[in-house]
C-alpha cells in the first residue's frame, strides 16, 4: 500500500498539470490573503467570518472547483492502469485493497501537502493557521478523492471519467450547495450524501465527509475485487 501511495504521490508532483494546479492554488491563496482586507471593505461580516477572511480565496476555489482539480489530475487513476494493463503487475504482487488504499492515500497526501503550503502562505498575512477551515477543506477533498477513485473503478474508459469529471466538477458544487439549502422534501435528502451540507455548519459535522469517503472506498474496493483485469 505504501509503495503505491508513494508512487502516486511522486507521480502527481511530476506532471505539468499538477504543477500548474498547485501554482494556481498558491497564487490565489497568496493574493486573496494579501488583499482580503481590501476585498472585505464595505461587506458586513460576522466576527468568525472576519477572522477567517484570509482563507476566503482558497476556500472558494476548493469549494467550487475542487472536484474539477482533483478530477483533472486523478480521474484515471485506476482505469488507466486497467486500460494499459499495467494493473496486472500490481495485482499479481499485492492485494487489490492495497492498490485502492495506496492510490487514495497517495492522492490525499498530494492534496494535503498542497493545502498545507497554501495555508502556510495565508498564515503570513493572517499570522495564524486556521486549523478548523483547513480540516473542513481537507474533508471536502477527501470526499472528492474517494468519489474519483470510485468512478475510476466503475467506469473503465479514462476518456469517459475525464468527461464525467468536467460535468460533475461543474455541476456538483452548484447542485450540492442548492441541495444544502433547499426545502424541497423530494430532493433535500440527497444533501446528506453530498459534502457541502456538512461544511456549512460551524462544528465538526464535516467529519461526515470522511465517513462518506470511507463508504465510497469500501464500495470501490468491493467492485475492484470482483473485477477481472
Amino acid at each position: 500500500m505504501f509503495v503505491i501511495a508513494k508512487r502516486e504521490f511522486i507521480n502527481l508532483f511530476k506532471g505539468i498539470k499538477s504543477i500548474i494546479t498547485v501554482l494556481f492554488l498558491l497564487i490565489v491563496s497568496y493574493y486573496s490573503a494579501k488583499f482580503s482586507e481590501v476585498i472585505s471593505i464595505g461587506i458586513e461580516l460576522t466576527a468568525s467570518e472576519a477572522e477567517g477572511i484570509h482563507t476566503v480565496g482558497i476556500l472558494t476555489l476548493i469549494l467550487l472547483l475542487g472536484y474539477l482539480f482533483v478530477a483533472s489530475l486523478s480521474h484515471n487513476t485506476v482505469n488507466r492502469e486497467m486500460e494499459e494493463r499495467t494493473i496486472r503487475f500490481l495485482i499479481t504482487r499485492t492485494s487489490r485493497q492495497s492498490i485502492i488504499l495506496g492510490k487514495f492515500f497517495g492522492i490525499c497526501l498530494f492534496w494535503f501537502v498542497t493545502l498545507i503550503i497554501s495555508f502556510l502562505l495565508i498564515s503570513i498575512f493572517s499570522q495564524k493557521v486556521d486549523l478548523f477551515i483547513f480540516l473542513q477543506t481537507m474533508s471536502l477533498l477527501i470526499y472528492q478523492i474517494a468519489l474519483i477513485i470510485l468512478l475510476s473503478v466503475i467506469i473503465l474508459k479514462p476518456s469517459l471519467t475525464m468527461f464525467l469529471g468536467i460535468i460533475v466538477g461543474l455541476s456538483f458544487p452548484a447542485v450540492g450547495i442548492w441541495l444544502a439549502f433547499t426545502s424541497n422534501t423530494w430532493v433535500s435528502w440527497i444533501k446528506f450524501i453530498t459534502p457541502y451540507y456538512y461544511l456549512f455548519n460551524e462544528d465538526y459535522t464535516f467529519v461526515m465527509n470522511v465517513i462518506l469517503a470511507v463508504i465510497m472506498l469500501a464500495i470501490a474496493n468491493q467492485i475492484f475485487k470482483r473485477r477481472e483485469c
Binding site: V3, I4, N11, F89, T92, R93, T94, S95, E228
Partner: protein, 301 residues
C-alpha cells in the same frame, strides 16, 4: 510437493467455456511448458492461476495455499502477456518499484544483476517508453524474477525476440530452474518447449489433451516412427513382393530412386524390414529413423 495444483478448474464467459475442468499438478523445481494454438486457453489458464481473472468453478492452490491468496503473491513472479510497462519509468525504476511492491525491495546491485541476466545492462537508466518490443519483453522477465520468487509464470517469454535474445532467455529460464525455481511457461515455440521444458502439456479447446515429459509424449506417439532407407537397386522380379510386404508393414510409403520412406508403428518392424530387404538380395546403405518431434505430436493433435 506440488507447487501448482488445479482441480476441475474452469472458466466460462457467458455460454462459452474457455477452460474445461482442468486437473493439473506441477511439482517443485519443474519447468512446465504449456503448449497450444492461439485461442486454446493458455493465457486464460495462466491468468487464473496468477489472480488476474477468477475461475468460474473449480479450485487451485499455489505453494500449498488455496488461491487466490495475497500472501502467495509475494513468492511468485509473473510476466503476463500483452502487458505494457510504465513508459515514464526507467528500467531500473521499474525493478525497484515492482520489487518493493512484492515486499522484497531490490538493491541497485540486484537490479543491475537482473538487467545483466536479461541483456539490458546498458539500458537501466533509459525510459521504457523508448524501449523496443523485445527490450520490453526482457524487462518483463526481469521484473518477474527481481524479487527472487519461488514460482515463476511466464506467458510467451520469447515471442517477438530475435533468435540471439531468445536463446539468452531460454538459458536464463533453464538456469532459474536449475536454481530450484518452479517455472510455468506458455509458448507457441515448439522447439523451445521441446528443448528446455521438463514437463509439457498440450492444450486444445480449453482442455489438456496430452501431458508428460518429452520422452513420455514420444513413447505415446511411437506409432509415428518414420524410417528412411537408402538401398541398392531392387531386382525387378522382387519389386512387387517387397513393396507389397512394405505396404502391409507400415504406412505412408514413398518410393524414390534407390530409397524409400515409410512410417511404422513399432521399432521391431524396422528389423523385419531389413530382413525383408536382405531376402530380396537388396543391400541397405543407410537407415534413418526419425522419432516424432513435438511439432509432429502437436500437429497431429
Amino acid at each position: 510437493m506440488n507447487v501448482i495444483e488445479t482441480k476441475q478448474l474452469s472458466k466460462s464467459y457467458g455460454s462459452a467455456q474457455i477452460i474445461k475442468a482442468i486437473d493439473l499438478s506441477v511439482k517443485e523445481g519443474e519447468l512446465f511448458g504449456f503448449l497450444g494454438r492461439n485461442g486454446a486457453g493458455k493465457s486464460t489458464f495462466i491468468n487464473m492461476l496468477t489472480g488476474i481473472i477468477y475461475p468460474s468453478s473449480g479450485t487451485y492452490s499455489l505453494l500449498g495455499v488455496k488461491g487466490p491468496n495475497d500472501q502467495v503473491k509475494k513468492r511468485m513472479g509473473v510476466m503476463p502477456d500483452y502487458s505494457t510497462l510504465y513508459s515514464s519509468l526507467t528500467a531500473m525504476e521499474h525493478l525497484k518499484f515492482l520489487s518493493a511492491l512484492s515486499g522484497n525491495s531490490a538493491s541497485k546491485v540486484r537490479c543491475k544483476e537482473v538487467l545483466n541476466l536479461v541483456g539490458l545492462q546498458n539500458h537501466g537508466g533509459k525510459k521504457v517508453g523508448k524501449f523496443s518490443f523485445g527490450m520490453k519483453k526482457k524487462l518483463g522477465i526481469a521484473q518477474a524474477i527481481i524479487h527472487d520468487p519461488k514460482i515463476i509464470f511466464l506467458d510467451e517469454p520469447t515471442s517477438g525476440l530475435d533468435p540471439e535474445s531468445a536463446i539468452t532467455i531460454q538459458k536464463l529460464i533453464q538456469n532459474l530452474q536449475k536454481n530450484g525455481k518452479t517455472i510455468f511457461m506458455t509458448s507457441h515455440n515448439l522447439h523451445e518447449v521441446e528443448k528446455i521444458c521438463t514437463q509439457i502439456a498440450i492444450m486444445k479447446d480449453g482442455q489438456i489433451i496430452k501431458i508428460g515429459t518429452m520422452d513420455e509424449l514420444r513413447a505415446f506417439y511411437r506409432s509415428k516412427i518414420t524410417v528412411k532407407i537408402k538401398h541398392s537397386p531392387i531386382p525387378k522380379a522382387e519389386q512387387l513382393t517387397l513393396y507389397e510386404w512394405l505396404e502391409s508393414a507400415g504406412s505412408d510409403l514413398t518410393k524414390e530412386v534407390n530409397s524409400l520412406t515409410i512410417t511404422v508403428d513399432d521399432e521391431k518392424k524396422i528389423a523385419e524390414m531389413i530382413r525383408a530387404f536382405n531376402q530380396c538380395k537388396v543391400d541397405i546403405f543407410r537407415v534413418e529413423v526419425e522419432e516424432p518431434s513435438l511439432e509432429d505430436i502437436f500437429l497431429d493433435e
